[in-house]
Subunit: 237 residues, 2 copies
């Protein structure tokens, strides 16, 4: 890998948002690594996560692979956009199963991205995580999802504190989308008002600015992405 | 079991607070069930949790045992006081391991208590969970602990909503202790100011009142237990 190119890792680089981010940063000549369950062929390096491994086993494998790929070089940004969705209240037959799944998809990935940042992010670098606006309040119809996202929100506050373990002067910012304009969301919600969905290119462009220290909100911010009539505004929670 | 006695289950009935609560409610002639890793001999029934089982396997076993013990009768209250503590920021060697442990100790138990409540709590009954005041903000020195407790706080809000899955008119209240006056805390912090620690008997007495619909705060409340000079005040977060 070139030692002069700017470098980022996308955790969840095979998903809809992750793929859009990788495409965007590649077009800007970044070196891009992807961490996911499957390869993203546009990435310069791919690190695969074993979905059935324990959290600590994933940690060992992912950290070893990242160290090997970076070979002592540092990252400008780590962008964690892994996640998923499942519903259900406390009386739902899959309440526990879905809570477990949501924790693994959102919190395992966010924590592992944070661990990577503590070791490989440059001073003044950027870590982004992915929360959810609804989890700022109760989410009775999707309890497991809300718990996991609330944990990510609180993790953001912990990491932003001076002794949270991230490199000096780095920033942690968590995006709180409402609905992202992905092919999957279009498929499942064909009749929704798509003008209120946030375009993936908007998010990618915003993250590139933040990575370059442009328009970067204060570290620890929960950044709501509010889209109306196709226009997205950032509102700090 | 007597069908006329008031009935509660304490999740974490073998811990310091759980044991105090069981002693208190037994003295008031309640039927008391305990769920924990080991038996509480003062309880009328004990349900043991297999610590190495998966979350869904724990769910299956615990729900089956509770249904068998209750045999169609309903509970006045389910009091979840299971939990634990571990420190570490994102750069700590045990960051992931401790985050995993905190999730299992605080969130697995809280979610299973909620699932029990959805099936066996009486209408107008009481579910209590255990959060932590520090987790209302960032907790950089104990990130895993903060994430788990923040999830419990958000779970509280979800359960309190009308369609959260709890029985009609029931209440969910989460206590946010600062430091409880337990033998273990006395052992590890012998020189701390114990007059700011919350006595277990205070908490037990408060829970009995809540179970009897006396002085019960609004469902969904996060109830901080603030103790100064030996006097405890309840302050809603």
């Amino acid at each position: 890998m070139s030692s002069s190119a700017s470098k980022i890792i996308v955790y969840g680089g095979r998903g809809a948002l992750g793929s859009a981010i990788i495409k965007h940063f590649k077009a800007k000549n970044y070196w891009v690594g992807s961490i996911d369950l499957a390869n993203n062929d546009e990435a310069d390096a791919n690190i695969l996560v074993a979905p059935d491994a324990s959290w600590t086993d994933q940690e060992k494998a992912v950290l070893a692979d990242v160290a090997k790929v970076l070979d002592g070089q540092v990252l400008d940004a780590i962008l964690c956009v892994a996640g998923g969705w499942a519903g259900g209240n406390a009386a739902h037959a899959d309440f526990v199963k879905n809570s477990d799944l949501m924790w693994k998809q959102s919190v395992w990935s966010s924590v592992l991205a944070s661990a990577i940042a503590s070791k490989h992010l440059k001073e003044g670098g950027l870590l982004t995580l992915t929360g959810a606006k609804p989890a700022l309040e109760g989410t009775p119809g999707m309890i497991g999802y809300g718990m996991a996202k609330a944990a990510v929100h609180q993790l953001t506050k912990s990491l932003a504190a001076g002794d949270g373990g991230l490199p000096k002067d780095s920033s942690v910012l968590t995006i709180l989308p409402v609905t992202l304009d992905t092919p999957m969301n279009r498929k499942w919600m064909p009749k929704a008002d798509h003008s209120t969905w946030t375009p993936l290119e908007y998010v990618s462009d915003m993250m590139e600015k933040w990575a370059n220290k442009e328009e970067r909100p204060a570290s620890g911010s929960l950044v709501q992405l509010l889209t109306e009539a196709g226009v997205t505004k950032l509102v700090l929670a």
